[in-house]
Symmetry: C2
Subunit: 149 residues, 2 copies
């Protein structure tokens, strides 16, 4: 029997009692084809655990912030920018996003990319790159080709 | 390329730069055939993310504590006691262990049970049941048959 302490995974990486939400308010930042589900947010826990899923060809926002992310890929394949490194990623790989690192996740063209993200409950807001920061990132041709803004 | 920010999963649910450790010191508490890997423990994060794996037929310690657990099953099958409820569990199910709830995880007889467990960095130590608490738990015949001590 399911209940408040047990929530089963349903088909397609959705869970009982968990709502599939927009990643961010539409128009608030650049992103494409990505959803958000909060798996754990409890008064007694100092972190939240969220599940994000990017549809094939989609991407998260290129951003940075003081707070860190601890990521485990759950399904599919893709790549991520962390700081100045681009990594191909697949199921169960672990990605750490250190404080103030520019980061962006992209799903492969023909596969979704689903991942867990652990984050402090108390955290600062993400910040988008300004023109100068974008120009600095684009000095690396590999990063210039990767990022979507 | 892997590095400090990317650690790939190797075969068999082990990861680059992550050590597979004993669950607890041998003899410190009752358990059987279970290992522990700390996937994320970082200065900037208020929680840790650990991966526990119980071999077929094994079990974690029956215990309780003030701190909460947020669990996602990653592989295999088994069952868990949470408070006074026993739940069959499988891949990607979510289990919350509320404060002071007795809990124990068991792997199925012929399958391992691997799960993520998010926990506050600052937390109290687990406590084992005393004779009176065990007797109270065993008043429920289903719980009496399930627990391993």
């Amino acid at each position: 029997m399911s209940g408040p302490n047990l929530r089963r995974m349903l088909a397609g990486f959705e869970w009982e009692q968990v709502e599939r939400l927009a990643y961010k308010p539409e128009g608030s930042a650049p992103f494409r084809d990505i959803t958000r589900q909060t798996l754990f947010r409890r008064e007694g826990l100092d972190c939240e655990l969220r599940y994000f899923e990017i549809a094939p060809g989609g991407h998260s926002t290129l951003e940075r912030h003081e707070h860190e992310h601890a990521v485990m890929i759950l399904r599919g394949a893709g790549a991520c920018l962390v700081g100045r490194a681009i990594h191909p990623i697949g199921a169960h790989d672990l990605v750490a996003i250190p404080a103030l690192s520019w980061h962006q996740f992209r799903a492969a063209p023909e596969e979704p990319l689903g991942f867990l993200c652990m984050v402090n409950v108390v955290r600062d807001r993400p910040r988008l790159p300004d023109e100068d920061e974008l120009a600095a990132l684009r000095q690396d041709p590999e990063i210039a080709a990767f990022i979507r803004v």
